[in-house]
Symmetry: C2
Subunit: 375 residues, 2 copies
């Protein structure tokens, strides 16, 4: 027998060879996926077909199980590969070549993303910004869609300033709140109106599997083509009233983020040694810290505007603070029973979701663990 | 040319064939990894070798880049495959066959995990629970390690009740706080003492890449074998004083979790429609909700005990509440400038971490997006 180190060396070389084959296989698969993209575009079919994806995954899970390989392993690997496929299939899919689209705020990040999408779909796309407002009337005169991609605080003012739009022209906005912009658009324009809230950031490469919330205004059949394009780009849409949208966002965008903001501010005030905190963190604590720290790499104006534009959430946030005080003073009095009773109450409110969330997050944490840098 | 649907069908069959090859390749790789496991155990080498992993990933990234394939894609796929490898290499690695180990609380989840690890390492392992306390003296008489895996609230009491241990016997605990247990162990036993805080839950299949925090007590050279085993099982250890440990955990385990708890309680009180909230969530909001909901699938006693056992954190939590009130009342007064100034202050405190956290979490969110169920 060869010495152990030589044996180890030999097997490791074989593993490297297998991994090299893996790269080759992924390259080959990419060629095939590119062909699918070409055929789909010719047939005008959507990029993202949930049933086909489900079927692919099921077939491979079964094969893996029969062969004694972890079905979760092959599913995770394939899902990652499929994500890459969507990014790559996102080539020119020309289907809006007869539309003229004006994007107000097209020089901003999110406006720019939508401009690129419309351009790739063959539309005639124009950006309207504060510097070329004198052309607004000309640009809008024969527009099919006017899309507002401007900061929350400016949205309503800009809507009011818009020139008259042709009767058939769709007006839509991308603001994070929906009540006020929708009302302003309906007041301004008597044609088709729709409110959109893209639930993703401008860094998104493809819309595949992303979510766009739709708040209907007026004349749905006249803006259906816009929703169809969004679905064709791979996103799914969720319809809801503007009031319900704004209430739900109050809990997520406002309260949760503010609570995260205050936590970050508190760490800063206490001058906690962050590097030490990170080095002592399990995957779950690291994730908690990530969720806090990431907020401060983003746009403070946007956070401030989201909070300030929803004054109805202040009552709710004050209620939240009162809850916090009550729970803290119970704990401070050593009242463990009260804490446990409250816990049971909330657990029952979460119902099946808490177990599902635990499992989903565990899966995510496993992935976070894969990438963990030790040194 | 065949009709588009037939063309699509044909290419999809080729993709299925490639995916089937992928399953075969992963099976073959697994065989090779099993061989590595056998050789490593024969050579007494550790399961997890960061340099080898780094080298494997670098080689494949280079190959992918040269071939025009995404280097991140192959890295993500390989990391996922490597995780499976660790789980599988974790076979019997007998290296503690001369040790006698008593686990107090071995019937609990975390105690059980450590019992299995010691048994697989060939040690003679005994569980000591409240039902067989009358055997404590006999069991401990010739023990090499007494490991405490009992609830926080009981730890100190049980340490005081322990029978005398042989002079060479190591005493160690697994409690989430370290100051009090360590002091109690040092007072009880004049031999080697060490405090351990495993930063993972009992559901962990392998210790590969997990973190164990070590607070030294006394006689390190005499418990070095225990730390060596932990490293051999794939974990890495981080040394810190008990006081620093407890302070850091106050920020993570106590304050962050309590804030999450109150947020969950608030959603319950407001009877927010959770299913609707989930359906309106982007990956980041879904992750926020997951972090909240998962808490309530866990053990309320444990949370309560962690908080109540650290009364020094109450001052800090009251400070946190005052910060929250200040920030909220500034916002309520429409003072956007104060919010933005605070934001800048915290951003500068987070320094490079905020951008790093944003990127790391983006990567994680991309993965979460892969698995997203649309219907």
């Amino acid at each position: 027998m060869a010495p152990l180190n030589e044996q180890l060396q030999a097997v490791r070389q074989q593993i490297d060879a297998a991994d090299s084959e893996l790269v080759q296989l992924l390259l080959r698969r990419r060629e095939l996926v590119a062909q699918v993209g070409v055929i789909k575009r010719a047939a005008g079919q959507p990029l993202y077909v949930p049933e086909r994806e489900q079927q692919m995954l099921q077939l491979r899970r079964q094969q893996a199980e029969q062969a004694g390989l972890s079905a979760d392993l092959i599913e995770d690997v394939l899902r990652r590969v499929i994500r890459e496929s969507y990014q790559q299939q996102q080539a020119a899919d020309v289907h809006l070549q007869h539309k003229k689209i004006v994007v107000v705020g097209g020089e901003g990040a999110l406006g720019g993303l939508f401009m690129r999408l419309f351009v790739s779909a063959g539309a005639a796309v124009y950006s309207l910004d504060r510097n070329d407002w004198d052309q607004a009337e000309t640009l809008c005169a024969d527009a099919d869609l006017l899309l507002l991609a401007v900061p929350i605080t400016l949205t309503v003012g800009i809507i009011e300033k818009l020139p008259a739009l042709p009767k058939h022209c769709v007006i839509a906005d991308l603001t994070s709140i929906k009540g006020q912009p929708l009302a302003a658009m309906l007041a301004k324009h008597s044609g088709p109106v729709v409110g959109l809230h893209p639930m993703f950031g401008p860094q998104q490469v493809t819309l595949a599997k992303q979510l766009v919330i739709v708040c209907h205004g007026r004349g749905r059949e006249q803006y259906q083509w816009l929703l169809d394009s969004i679905v064709r780009w791979g996103a799914h849409i969720r319809e809801i009233s503007a009031a319900q949208h704004d209430q739900a966002m109050g809990f997520i965008q406002v309260l949760r983020h503010l609570s995260t903001f205050v936590y970050g501010a508190h760490l800063a005030e206490q001058q906690v040694d962050l590097a030490q905190l990170v080095s002592l963190s399990s995957p779950i604590y690291r994730l908690e810290l990530m969720m806090v720290g990431r907020l401060f790499a983003q746009n403070p104006e946007l956070y401030a505007d989201i909070i300030l534009s929803q004054p109805h959430t202040f009552t709710m946030m004050n209620d939240y603070l009162r809850s916090f005080e009550t729970i803290l003073s119970q704990l401070q009095a050593g009242n463990k029973a009260a804490f446990i009773a409250k816990f049971a109450e909330v657990k029952s409110y979460f119902g099946d979701f808490s177990q599902r969330f635990l499992e989903d997050s565990q899966r995510l944490l496993d992935t976070a663990g894969d990438a963990q840098q030790i040194n």
